[in-house]
């Protein structure tokens, strides 16, 4: 036991000495949380649009004023011809053009109908759809107000309620995602590389011929990263509660328990990779392409899994981060208890045991 | 006698640590000059300054007549260098390494071909020309590294512990290469840990704690310290060192 402790001490020193790496490992979650929390938003706002007002009458002015007042739009100078319009779209200056025909108000009054042309830059389809929806609803509001005296019959009025995240903030979606990403990075990649490095340098053999059990060697290597990860989890949670105003609705204890389970899963993954590879570069490549990318893609925090083709959906089930992400979301944001997430917990435990088993097996073969 | 290395009060400080403390010596043309010292005595730092790899904090030095502050580029054209860390490209063949290192010294294609063939012949490595350097035994790699370090016929070649980890027979062969180069008028500046190698040198200097503690021919040094071997001389001086590794 004393031997083991001195070994662990050595591993801690290794990790703590490399300041640049340490700085990145602690800085990464902070920067990610800040970017996701403050910079990235799925809301579409401040879009620069152009209004071509060929009418210049009361009605068109009234609508333009309303659009101007909306925080979704920023109206650019009046462009007139269609040539200028196209050029503005091509340089990416504007996202949308609203064209009022000449005699807009007159047509509205006398013929009871008038047209507005709304042209969206659909190279970004979602933004185009969203902006078109915004403009439509502003125009529709104006129309309703005009008609306030004679109400339409048979009105169905939908009442909308946004659950969990009424302001449509990005954070509730991103925080659990960042947690799984960071843990994956620290535990899988760093653990794998640090063990493989020892192999490359040949120091692994020295350790293996010592009276020390090989499994202890690996455990001692994993321990500093376990601690680093726990600190990272705490940092992320503190930041999300105090900086992003995202409270933990469910049980903190449960959240911690599941996080430690996921950290252990990741550490086993890291050990598994290190057992199977011989060079740092290969270990890096496998962790990066084989672990981080799938975490980013298939945990569901950036991209909806249900939109993916079936083979990818099936594949997402073997990505551990997906299950962790689901659990964190359930506990932190929806405030659900263990009875809702026992299945996910079980799956993670299963993956961990499986990985542990095969790494131990190949470890023994190597020694034999 | 032409002096190719002239060093006067050369000093290098890192913060408040003085790695090399005002060293002064001269090396003659065609001489084999041994540069000894315990680990951390400042040998490598001194050598890096002489090669133009690091700028001195104070003092003066000229290499082949060029100033170490202002004329580092001219110095580099006139020296060869081989470090303790093996420094050929592992993923290139023997021939490719020779061509590359000759090429970056601006040697003409015809000369590269001629010098390269000579080199392979001298080392008896004609059959290995197309082999990856990574597949060669360490001793061969080191001989090859030395030969490529002098392929452009420099005035001086700096060798930083060139024979570390090599068996005695190969070391012997290595020193034959060194003598051959010296006979051709190349000045050899070599650091080493092996005291028997120090005996091969014309003169040796011994550095202790950043200073040159002794400088003379091996036989004079032995006499001066009343010692039978260079080992004893070295031990006598290094014992007083305050700096550990």
């Amino acid at each position: 036991m004393k031997q083991f402790l001195s070994f662990v001490r050595k591993e801690f020193l290794h990790v703590l000495r490399d300041r640049k790496t340490l700085f990145i490992l602690f800085g990464m979650p902070v920067v990610q949380i800040l970017i996701f929390g403050f910079a990235l938003t799925n809301e579409v706002k401040n879009s620069t649009i152009v209004v071509v007002d060929n009418a210049k009458d009361l009605s068109s002015q009234a609508i333009i004023t309303r659009i101007e007042a909306s925080r979704y739009f920023q109206i650019e100078k009046n462009l007139v011809g269609s040539k200028e319009l196209e050029a503005a779209f091509r340089t990416g200056e504007i996202k949308m053009a609203i064209v009022f025909p000449a005699g807009f108000a007159e047509s509205l009054q006398h013929q009871n109908t008038a047209q507005i042309q709304v042209i969206a830059d659909a190279s970004d389809p979602n933004t185009a759809t969203t902006l078109t929806n915004y403009v439509s609803s502003i125009i529709r509001d104006y129309q309703t107000e005009m008609n306030v005296t004679n109400q339409l019959p048979y009105r169905i009025q939908p009442e909308l309620r946004m659950l969990y995240n009424p302001q449509l903030k990005g954070a509730p979606n991103f925080v659990p995602g960042v947690m799984s990403l960071v843990l994956m990075l620290v535990c899988v990649m760093m653990t794998a590389i640090s063990i493989v490095k020892e192999k490359e340098n040949g120091t692994m053999e020295i350790l293996l011929v010592s009276p020390f059990k090989p499994i202890m060697v690996v455990l001692a290597k994993a321990l500093p990263y376990l601690l680093l990860s726990i600190i990272n989890v705490i940092t992320i949670l503190l930041l999300s509660v105090f900086v992003l105003d995202l409270p933990i609705v469910g049980s903190i204890l449960l959240l911690f328990g599941e996080s430690i389970l996921f950290i252990i899963t990741c550490l086993t993954l890291g050990i598994f990779i290190s057992v199977k590879t011989d060079s740092q570069q290969t270990a890096m490549l496998i962790s990066l392409v084989g672990m981080l990318l799938p975490t980013l893609l298939f945990s569901g925090f950036l991209f909806p899994i249900e939109n993916m083709p079936l083979p990818l959906q099936v594949f997402s089930n073997i990505v551990p981060a997906k299950w962790y992400y689901l659990m964190v979301k359930s506990i932190m944001i929806k405030g659900l208890g263990f009875s809702y997430i026992w299945k996910e917990t079980l799956i993670l435990v299963g993956i961990t045991l499986f990985l542990l088993l095969i790494s131990l097996k190949s470890f023994k073969i190597r020694l034999a | 006698m032409e002096q190719v290395i002239v060093c006067n009060g050369l000093t290098k400080r890192f913060g408040d640590f003085t790695a090399v403390d005002s060293i002064t010596f001269e090396v003659n043309k065609g001489e084999i000059f041994g540069f000894l010292g315990a680990n951390g005595a400042g040998k490598t730092t001194a050598m890096r300054m002489l090669c133009g790899l690091s700028t001195p904090s104070s003092g003066k030095a000229t290499i082949a007549g060029f100033d170490v502050y202002k004329q580092t580029e001219q110095i580099k054209k006139n020296i060869g260098y081989m470090s303790q860390k093996f420094s050929l490209y592992d993923d290139l063949t023997v021939q490719e390494n020779i061509t590359f290192f000759a090429g970056i010294y601006g040697i003409s294609d015809a000369e590269i071909k001629k010098n390269g063939d000579d080199l392979l012949l001298r080392l008896g490595m004609q059959d290995q020309a197309k082999k990856m350097v990574s597949s060669l035994p360490l001793g061969w790699k080191q001989k090859l590294a030395f030969s490529t370090a002098v392929i452009h016929k420099p005035k001086i070649v700096f060798l930083d512990e060139p024979t570390g980890g090599v068996d005695p027979v190969t070391r012997r062969q290595f020193w034959e290469l060194i003598y051959e180069a010296a006979d051709n008028g190349i000045t050899i500046f070599v650091t080493t840990h092996y005291m028997d190698e120090a005996e091969y040198c014309k003169r040796v200097s011994i550095m202790v704690d950043g200073k040159v503690a002794a400088l003379d021919t091996p036989s004079n040094l032995k006499e001066q310290f009343g010692a039978n071997t260079m080992d004893e001389v070295f031990y006598h001086l290094a014992r007083e060192a305050k700096r550990g590794e």
């Binding site: 790496t21 970017i35 799925n42 579409v44 706002k45 879009s47 091509r90 340089t91 990416g92 996202k95 009054q109 009871n112 047209q115 507005i116 042309q117 709304v118 042209i119 969206a120 830059d121 190279s123 970004d124 185009a128 759809t129 969203t130 439509s136 129309q143 005009m146 008609n147 339409l152 048979y154 169905i156 009025q157 939908p158 909308l160 969990y164 009424p166 570069q281 890096m284 991209f303 909806p304 939109n307 993916m308 990818l312 689901l326 659900l336 | 790899l53 690091s54 054209k77 260098y81 470090s83 420094s87 050929l88 490209y89 993923d91 290139l92 061509t99 590359f100 290192f101 090429g103 970056i104």
Partner: protein, 372 residues
């Protein structure tokens, strides 16, 4: 010049002998461009809808069938109460709840107006926004149909109506892949160029060969150019592969000229390679270089407008995006490929990136000198 030739020959030999690099260069574009656009599909469809129909009338059934046949929604549960539906949302089996109150049909007919309740799981903001937008639109349409069916002419004055003619330029079918693929190509070139160049000089440091170069007459700019040019060529190869894959799999043909595209890519590669070289002059080990590069590339990509629009970011983030070469590249790729913008349209972007290239490479050369 002669020295540069020898450096280049050496560099190319090393690259072509390194299987890992070749695999990365050849396989990455194909895999990324096949998997990523499929996986990063933000097109919101198949929204899981839980319905609580307390009315069970013809109207409520007609409304539900109109919604489910729209293609945007998929009925995931037919529940008896709101709470039952909420459980489905909690289990992530439903995204949206539509609750139809009892006597919906009769109240609507009798009182001319009736409410519907919609609850959306808003953890994912995009999905919630678009999903509620779609369902509102469908309800409006249904309402309109109903009205014209029930309308007794002359009984009500409909009042003036404004018709909105919306058109979607450049991508009339709102094809999401057309939007993503150019962005992913930008990602690809950035990752390959950035990582390869960052790891390369550090590798020579680890191997000790850099010392041997440093004592030779090879000038700093020779050395940096010797590293820059091979990866610059590789970057162009990767980009070309990306264009081919985009054409073969997605049928995407750039609307703008290839000359415009390549001009920009060539300048951009100088910038990103310069960045990689700059990082590598700071690092001592490959592990460090990789981690630091990963850190920056992650920030560049997240803040580069690939997934979320830069316009919507707060002012400080917009300022930061101005210093992010990746954001210019993503924007230009989309402009040229989708909208057919020409050199004149992207001149601002081009000059800015040229500025980055000069500053970063100068930084790499100066900083490389410092390591002496």
């Amino acid at each position: 010049m002669r020295i540069l030739k020898f450096l280049l020959v050496k560099e190319f030999k090393q690259i072509f002998r390194n299987k890992a690099i070749l695999v990365v260069i050849m396989v990455m574009p194909v895999i990324q461009l096949i998997i990523l656009p499929l996986a990063t599909n933000f097109e919101v469809k198949n929204i899981a809808l839980a319905v609580v129909d307390n009315d069970h009338s013809d109207y409520s059934r007609a409304l539900i069938s109109k919604i489910t046949s729209s293609g945007y929604f998929r009925l995931s549960g037919y529940c008896n109460s709101y709470n039952e539906a909420l459980v489905l949302v909690e289990q992530d089996k439903s995204d949206l709840i539509l609750q139809i109150p009892p006597h919906f049909e009769s109240v609507l007919l009798r009182e001319n107006s009736e409410r519907l309740f919609i609850a959306v799981n808003a953890i994912n903001g995009v999905k919630a926004g678009l999903g509620s937008g779609y369902i509102n639109e469908i309800i409006q349409q249904y309402n309109q149909q109903l009205r014209s069916k029930l309308q007794v002419p002359g009984k009500f004055n409909l009042g003036p109506t404004i018709q909105i003619q919306s058109s979607n330029w450049y991508n009339p079918n709102l094809n999401y892949q057309l939007f993503m693929v150019p962005g992913i190509m930008a990602l690809l070139v950035t990752i390959v160029g950035g990582f390869l160049s960052a790891l390369n000089i550090v590798k020579e440091k680890e191997a000790g060969t850099i010392e041997q170069i440093n004592v030779s007459p090879v000038k700093k700019y020779h050395f940096v150019l010797g590293k820059l040019i091979p990866f610059w060529i590789l970057g162009n190869v990767v980009f070309t592969l990306g264009l081919l894959v985009a054409f073969c799999i997605y049928g995407i043909v750039p609307l703008g000229s290839l000359i415009t595209l390549y001009t920009f890519v060539m300048v951009y590669l100088l910038a990103i390679l310069g960045f990689g070289l700059l990082i590598s002059t700071f690092c001592d080990t490959q592990q460090q270089a990789m981690l630091i590069m990963f850190f920056f590339i992650m920030i560049f990509i997240l803040m580069g407008g690939l997934f979320t629009s830069i316009d919507s970011m707060p002012d400080w983030a917009k300022m930061a995006a101005k210093f992010n070469p990746v954001s210019y590249f993503i924007a230009v790729m989309r402009m040229v490929i989708i909208k057919g913008s020409g050199l004149y349209d992207i001149r601002g972007h081009l000059l800015t990136v040229l500025g980055f290239a000069i500053v970063l490479n100068a930084g790499a050369i100066v900083n490389y000198r410092k390591t002496f």
